[in-house]
Symmetry: C2
């Protein structure tokens, strides 16, 4: 420790309370924060093993699956992506990946690093991929894995899945679904939809702090891992070993992030106490109110109505508004965080999250009134009718 090191300059932690309406993390309910702060148990303590089992049961209910291998991976959402690929891919495997935003591109990068022969299926940013494009790209190929993002956090698009899953299955591929921004916010039904492997993050529609990646593999996906000729290249994410810790054996692999699992268990309880259908309807209601407000202001949504995602809304930055000035003013004046555009959308859109605990009427009303104020301060002409239009949606829906 340097002689002049002054520990006194590091003050007590006292972060400001924000309203989190970006792409995630979303606002975390106090119940979840309190659960996370319970005393740490050992990772092999009988009480903790019970909490692990319960967390798995709750995760299965939220994923709508019976998959035995349903666990939180000890890392953030991207660790869940990597866990899927690193276990399922062997070098040279053909892997088809739909790319229509940052997170599809990330899957291509991840799979390529593992030596996969990646077949990218490109679609326009801000749109869903069409079945025809998938069919064309897979013509004459035999991918072992077909990977697609359900809810693209970079574009606010909800991908229709039924037809493209049928196509991928017809070609014999395992279907891998990125549910990071859909799980707990819009419908996800792993078993009914025939999803073989899926991953998510805790900090979006589950409203748990970031740090874990829910993951689920069905028997076919597990069989592919068990049939590998080569060892899984990642020791940390090797599901044959991680699965033994989360399985009946409870065999030590790595020390589980105990308090994060407390938090996830509580967040999942809250999701299921509300009920999945009620929760999905709530997300769609606030999405409709937000869109009505935005359009009444004279602004535009980026994504066509039929492809919009309730949990992540892309608002086109209007002429005359400065991206950074606007976001900084929302943060400074209203404590309100929204997200910047990514990639080709940088500087062109804002990403407004309505995820879990953040998807509320008061957040929608705050966002619309705050945005109106901040844009007008920049001399941008916007109608003041946004909040009333949102209220109209709520009035017709019955208060939620």
């Amino acid at each position: 420790m340097p002689r002049d090191f002054d520990i006194g300059k590091y003050h007590d932690l006292d972060p400001v309370t924000r309203v989190l309406m970006g792409p995630g993390p979303s606002d975390v309910p106090p119940r979840v924060l309190r659960a996370m702060a319970a005393p740490t148990l050992g990772h092999l303590d009988p009480e903790f093993l019970t909490l692990m089992s319960e967390t798995q049961e709750l995760l299965r209910a939220v994923f709508q699956t019976d998959n035995a291998l349903t666990i939180p991976v000890s890392g953030t959402g991207s660790a869940g992506m990597e866990a899927c690929f690193v276990n399922l891919i062997e070098p040279g495997d053909q892997v088809a990946v739909v790319v229509k935003g940052v997170f599809g591109a990330r899957m291509v990068d991840c799979a390529s690093r593992l030596g996969a022969d990646v077949i990218p299926i490109e679609a326009e940013w801000g749109r869903a991929v069409q079945p025809e494009a998938v069919e064309k790209a897979l013509q004459g190929r035999q991918p072992k894995i077909f990977a697609v993002v359900h809810a693209e956090t970079s574009t606010g698009v909800l991908q229709p899945l039924s037809e493209i899953i049928s196509l991928a299955k017809a070609w014999g591929a395992l279907v891998l679904l990125d549910c990071v921004t859909s799980l707990g916010g819009v419908e996800v039904k792993l078993d009914a939809w025939g999803i073989d492997a899926a991953f998510s993050g805790t900090q979006k529609c589950l409203s748990c702090p970031p740090g874990l990646a829910p993951l689920s593999f069905n028997d076919q996906a597990v069989a592919k891992v068990r049939a590998r000729k080569s060892k899984v290249p990642s020791w940390y994410l090797d599901l044959t070993m991680v699965g033994d810790y989360w399985g009946a054996e409870r065999k030590y692999h790595h020390t589980a992030p105990v308090n994060m699992i407390y938090a996830l268990r509580e967040a999942l309880r809250i999701v299921l106490e509300e009920g999945l259908e009620t929760r999905f309807a709530r997300h769609w209601l606030h999405h409709r109110a937000l869109v009505a407000g935005i359009e009444a202001m004279g602004l535009r949504m980026k994504v066509p109505p039929e492809e919009r995602l309730a949990t992540l809304n892309l608002v086109v930055i209007p002429e005359g508004a400065d991206d950074l000035t606007t976001r900084r003013a929302l943060l400074a004046q209203f404590g309100l965080e929204i997200g910047a555009g990514l990639g080709p959308f940088a500087g062109k859109v804002w990403r407004v999250g309505l995820q879990g605990h953040s998807a509320t009427e008061r957040n929608v009303m705050l966002f619309l009134t705050a945005l109106t104020s901040v844009l007008r301060a920049q001399g941008v002409k916007v109608s003041g009718d946004g909040p009333a239009a949102a209220q109209d949606v709520y009035a017709h829906a019955g208060r939620s």
Copy 2:
């Protein structure tokens, strides 16, 4: 969600409070638990970016390094190990790894999966490796990396480093140090010792919940990563990208585990408020008291005195005592967790941690009195002099 799913059966989280004297996690101070439960900030919020910088400064002070690339990896300690290897190794690289316990063997497994040409340097379990053994193993080889565990959590051995580091440097290798069970408990001086890369975990002597892996790379280690011919095979742990998020650019890579970083910052503050030298002396004091008590009871320590690790103590299970019965009784009757033996030591030793917040006189006294009681209940003959012998050590040291 299945129709018969009953959310009511998942009760409020209310884990029992244990005394954690196993191999980790250790007891977490209430200050750390409270800090962790502060409201979640966005991972790009200006307030959070400041907390990140502060956490890095505190980590550097604890690692005793000026390394710019000093960060908490978003995973548990083993993710830190994997982050080191996956960035530093290219396929075919010769990597020398000292193996004298589970965690050396784990490094061999991890490096092998990445295509390294691993040179294992075997030493007896429960002993340190000798410089002669290192010299012999490296004869005629030119490993690019020399990896060694500083504090073997499976054997309770503190590895003397000075001579073997000199040898490795003479052969031109980068030195990679596993500090999981040493950092914050016994002396670790990355810069003064010439360590090129190091990793640790939060849940041992830092007394933070598990979930992050402190990591530090010096310029030579960073240069090896930058000079790679192939991409880092792990997207999640690629330090060229992770480093951009933790560096001046603050470029988004993955969503940081925000609340875990709150917890780590607070845990590091506590470490540095106590002061490193004071803290190390405290660990050695309680270790001496524990050993005095164990030996006064008529039991034996596994490791020779000069190779013992203050933070993890291996007690030989005495004749007539049943391993599981003893540990279960300690947990049930005293709420006291100690660790089982691993590998060849399973059923032969107990692993007793004295780590961070758990390294206290009251824990040493509880352990000695509880163990005496539990062994006697099994009919094992032990002297009742353990607690008094420990008190003697404290009396001579002045109360701590």
